[in-house]
């Protein structure tokens, strides 16, 4: 805790938790490390995330697989997180760093809210996330890239909005839908065919799960629905009333219906 009697307190004051850490505890930042020479040993990677807009909000879904080379490192990993009450983010890339950046981002938003007494605007949040990804660029150059997808409800315009990023922290607003991760090319194809304007929330969940199914079908690093372990994708919706995690039993029904329909169609590809 900084000494509250310190004269230059006002000049030190910042609403950003990251800036505060940078000044007082830089060793706690997930990035900002100087790496030794050499190659990075294999580490778990998180893969496909899909996001799409629907009538009154935006939805994000992620599969549950993490891979380390050709090994499945985890079947239970979660890659989609609530960032605050009105936004969610999904992560692809080096899992360890990505989860820490997510944690930092969550604290960053809550910290701003508590210090300032008001929520950051949606674009403000998206820009903060971009700055963190840019902070991670030296790590990305060593092969430890983190690529997030960010979605939230914009109270100003009353719609759900979607932002993607590149490893340099570049922020791009996406229309309709987007996907990141190694299975994203396949998910994207599915989204193009399945997405329609003004989807209901229920249909949007089905579209997202089916896009992930297609990604898992062709990408070995993406996990499909797992009825043996009762594992379904993690799906969050965000609308005017905040974010909500879609319950497991709804996802089990949606995934079950997709598997059934595909089996009934009896096609190879």
């Amino acid at each position: 805790m900084q000494d509250p009697s310190a004269g230059p307190l006002a000049t030190q004051a910042t609403s950003s938790f990251t800036e505060h850490l940078q000044r007082s505890r830089p060793e706690l930042l997930p990035f900002n490390q100087s790496l030794p020479a050499g190659t990075v040993p294999p580490s778990p990677h998180a893969t496909t995330i899909v996001a799409l807009t629907y009538a009154g909000g935006v939805l994000m879904a992620g599969d549950r697989r993490a891979t380390m080379g050709n090994i499945i490192a985890s079947r239970h990993i979660e890659k989609v997180f609530p960032a605050d009450e009105y936004s969610v983010l999904g992560i692809a890339g080096t899992a360890g760093l990505a989860i820490d950046i997510t944690r930092l981002f969550q604290v960053e938003l809550e910290h701003y809210e508590k210090i300032e007494g008001t929520l950051l605007s949606l674009v403000g949040k998206a820009n903060r996330l971009g700055a963190m990804i840019r902070g991670n660029l030296p790590m990305a150059m060593q092969g430890m890239a983190v690529v997030p997808l960010f979605a939230g409800f914009d109270h100003g315009s009353g719609v759900g909005r979607l932002f993607s990023y590149d490893v340099t922290g570049g922020r791009y607003e996406e229309q309709e839908h987007h996907s990141v991760g190694s299975g994203s090319v396949f998910a994207r194809g599915a989204l193009k065919k399945l997405w329609k304007p003004n989807l209901s929330e229920e249909n949007a969940v089905a579209v997202a799960v089916e896009a992930l199914y297609d990604a898992a079908d062709d990408d070995s690093a993406t996990g499909g629905p797992d009825p043996v372990r009762q594992l379904w994708p993690v799906v969050y919706t965000v609308n005017r009333s905040g974010n909500r995690r879609v319950p497991e039993r709804d996802l089990a029904a949606v995934a079950g219906a997709i598997v059934e329909a595909r089996a009934a169609a009896g096609r190879e590809a």
């Binding site: 805790m1 505060h20 210090i115």
Partner: protein
Amino acid sequence: MTQQFYVSPEQLMKDRADFARKGIARGRSVVVISCADGIALIAENPSPSLHKIGEIYDKIAFAAVGKYNEFESLRQAGVRYADVRGYSYDREDVTARGLASVYAQSLGAVFTAEQKPFEVELAVAEVGFTQEQDHLYRLTFDGSIADENGFVVMGGLADQISDVVSGAWEPELTLAGAMQLALRALATNKEVDELPATAVEAAVLYRASESNRGSRRAFRRLLPEDMTRLLTEES
């Protein structure tokens, strides 16, 4: 070269304490009440934007009287302390006790070492799963810390207000009951029986917010309409 007058440490500390006490007594009061539904924090404060009550962390809130700039810097420092601690360890590891002792150290250091002591009095409240697990700490300008039971009253006329609250406080009080009691107590020495909802700033730390409200964060600021509803509710 001029010789400095000798002032005994006793006299020096007494003067500082009197100075701080005077500054605090000029201000309006704050009441923090533990009740069955959680912890109610109510401040007499006509400003809708300059807050005397704030959220520190999931289960921890802050209330203060005295000089705004001084307690605001302490509130922000508290948020930073809690967020850094929660980020580097875990959210569970942030406790009101830890925060209160950091505040006590800061206030104590300022009281003895600085030109002028802080003219503030603070309350740090942490809501527990049961009322026995609630913590209410009261911190004064010199860094003294007290673990209070049931309620805390600070600011001008604290003794009179405290008499009213202690006369009616009981653990079974509902949130509405606690609010009504606080508004009645804060009206001490005024021409009215009870303060209007617009004259106060109020917030609550809800008990078991995870199951009741779907959020780890227990703190909610109450809007004037929420207050009006609570004040008309049967306690």
